[in-house]
């Protein structure tokens, strides 16, 4: 048996807590308990690449980096990028219905539909939404449709731009090749999204906790922010939700992962129960209260 250094020699408790606190402060992501081995396993290659020998040096390097690039790299190695096309189908079915309501509401107004896919990882969610909009046929003529994916992981964002996937990204389709072949060019186990279905989808490398990000994105009709709140602290969730509230139109819709909940975490949104799924809507009373407090 090989003798491994134990976790104390790999990373001191102080080194762990300073990195953990940094990640929570900047990205809202919580590392619960003593996760030194996990952190080491996920980021030790950064030390090798940067030629550093302790986590203290690594921490100092990150905080001294004015570009914040290494900070984002650190976070991207800690998070889970798991995603696939048409994940949580019932939510997408609910969206298909909602799209009809949105179209009705916008009748005679500005023909513009904007959807955010926050924590978009490698883009499967954003492209699924685009395919859904395309299949609905509702926004085909003279509509300005825009889907924007945002993630902290640069590698994931590049993958999303490339729009080329493996079979793993289609696990929820249970081998439904007809749908795959309609939208993808399949070659040697690689599935490349046909350009026509990628053209109104864009991806950005950014932190969804950063409130400045939303000013340039509003007004947004629908926000998808799924399977990332589970990793976040309550204060970070509050910050996020307030960002969502300022970006969404008054009648906008918010989707979070089916294993996540905002109930008792915010009064900015109220749950709306649709068949099988919960969609969050802005709470007009909370907005009014906030308005009154301001005046």
């Amino acid at each position: 048996m090989t003798a491994f250094p134990d976790k104390k020699t790999i990373m001191s408790a102080e080194e762990f807590s300073s990195l953990r606190d940094l990640i929570e402060r900047e990205f809202g992501i919580l590392l619960r308990g003593d996760r030194r081995l996990t952190l080491h396993t996920k980021v030790s290659h950064r030390l090798s690449i940067l030629g550093l020998s302790t986590y203290k040096e690594y921490y100092d390097f990150i905080v001294a980096d004015p570009t914040r690039e290494e900070l984002f790299i650190l976070a991207s190695h800690i998070t889970n990028n798991e995603t696939y096309f048409f994940r949580e189908r019932p939510q997408l079915d609910a969206l298909a219905e909602i799209l009809q309501d949105i179209k009705r509401e916008k009748q005679g107004g500005e023909q513009r539909l904007r959807i955010l896919s926050l924590a978009s990882s490698s883009g499967e969610e954003a492209y699924s939404l685009n395919i859904l909009i395309h299949e609905s046929g509702l926004f085909a003529w003279n509509w300005d449709v825009e889907i924007i994916g945002i993630d902290i992981d640069r590698t994931a964002v590049s993958k999303a731009h490339a729009a080329t996937y493996t079979a793993n990204s289609f696990r929820s389709l249970n081998g439904d090749m007809s749908r795959i072949q309609r939208y993808f060019t399949v070659e040697d186990g690689r599935y490349e999204l046909k350009r026509a279905y990628a053209k109104n989808v864009e991806f950005r490398h950014a932190n969804i906790l950063d409130s400045g990000l939303y000013a340039g994105l509003a007004p947004v009709d629908v926000i998808f922010c799924r399977n990332v709140l589970i990793y976040m602290s309550d204060p970070a969730t509050e910050r996020l939700v307030s960002n969502f509230s300022s970006a969404l139109t008054e009648t906008g819709y918010l989707f979070i992962g089916s294993a996540e909940s905002l109930i008792q975490k915010t009064n900015l949104f109220t749950p709306e129960y649709r068949e099988k799924v919960i969609v969050y809507r802005k709470n007009s009373e909370a907005q009014a209260d906030a308005g009154q407090q301001r005046t």
Binding site: M1, S44, S53, T155
Partner: protein
Amino acid sequence: MDENQDRLNRLRTKDWWSRKKEIEELAAGHEERHLAVLESWLRKGEDHLSRNIAMEVFRALGSGATAFLVSLLSDSDADIRIFAANLIGDIGDKDALTALIEALEDTDVNVRIAAIEALGKMGDARAVGVLARRLEDSPWSVMAAVDALGRIGGDEARTVLHRFLVRGEYRGMTCEALERAGDRASVEQLMQYVGRGEIGGLALRALVTIAERECVMPSPLFIAETLPVLKDLVQSPDAAVRRAALIALSWAGKADAAPCLIAALGDDGLQEHAINGLMALGRDAVPDIIGALRGRGGQRGILAKILSMTGEVHAFPEFAGDADSEVRTEAALALGTVNTPEAKALLVKLSADPVDEVKAAAVLSLQLMKGGAGNDGLSR
């Protein structure tokens, strides 16, 4: 209506938050003169609001109300005696210890149970002897006594609980009490019950919680013997039992635990323990790690990293073209320590990888190869 009664009556109309605030203010003034009114409210069987407010005020009064509540322990109404015992337990004033111990002889079993629970909440070790005698009472009293002993803790309570483990019908509860109160000696005691019958999972859970808390590890022999049971329990529907089983497997140092450990890498709550277990297995885990990397499963970056930490760098050429960039990064770093023409050719290829990190790792490895130095010590 007198002013006291009036003030208390106003509490009934308030919402919970303002009531809480007023009760705090009232209690801060040591308003013992309200006791008689509060007692009458306790007696209002159907009026739950009055009764609840009375209980809130008693709790807020704290030790100021203890003597009065002790007097209620000899009330003729059993319900009042139960409320009094509950409140004394919540307040936790040790002056009431003797009165509670006397209440253990009450003719009404529910009063006895309330007194047992109150002694548990009070947490005074002087009650251990009398509680131990309650282990022969009615089943509900026994369960309450086991729980109370767990809350009180300490050497004497632990000894009683260890002995009580023989009683199969209460073993589950006893394990839970020991999970709270146990020490190193409890680990030995619990070992014999791991995997035995329905409560085997509870015994394991208690054992692992104590072992983690006390920083001890059961003997490798014990874990080796229980390995088949642990592999079963790692599939338990109870998440806490699954966690305990995985932690125990991570201590096992047995290669046939590797597949379970690898499967647990994908579970956020178990990841740290799974990595720990695989690192402890070292080279013994290599065949399973390579098998998992050849498959299509997730957690590939972590698997590659652990593989590299085992020192098995010669396995990496196979994964230099992996679809996962984290695996390629690991391959690039590992190949830098393998001085073969094949490794070099792969590194040249990886140094043109589309992912920056892979490229950087490959370039670094090529430089190291040229310089003839090995990779740095700590981080690899």
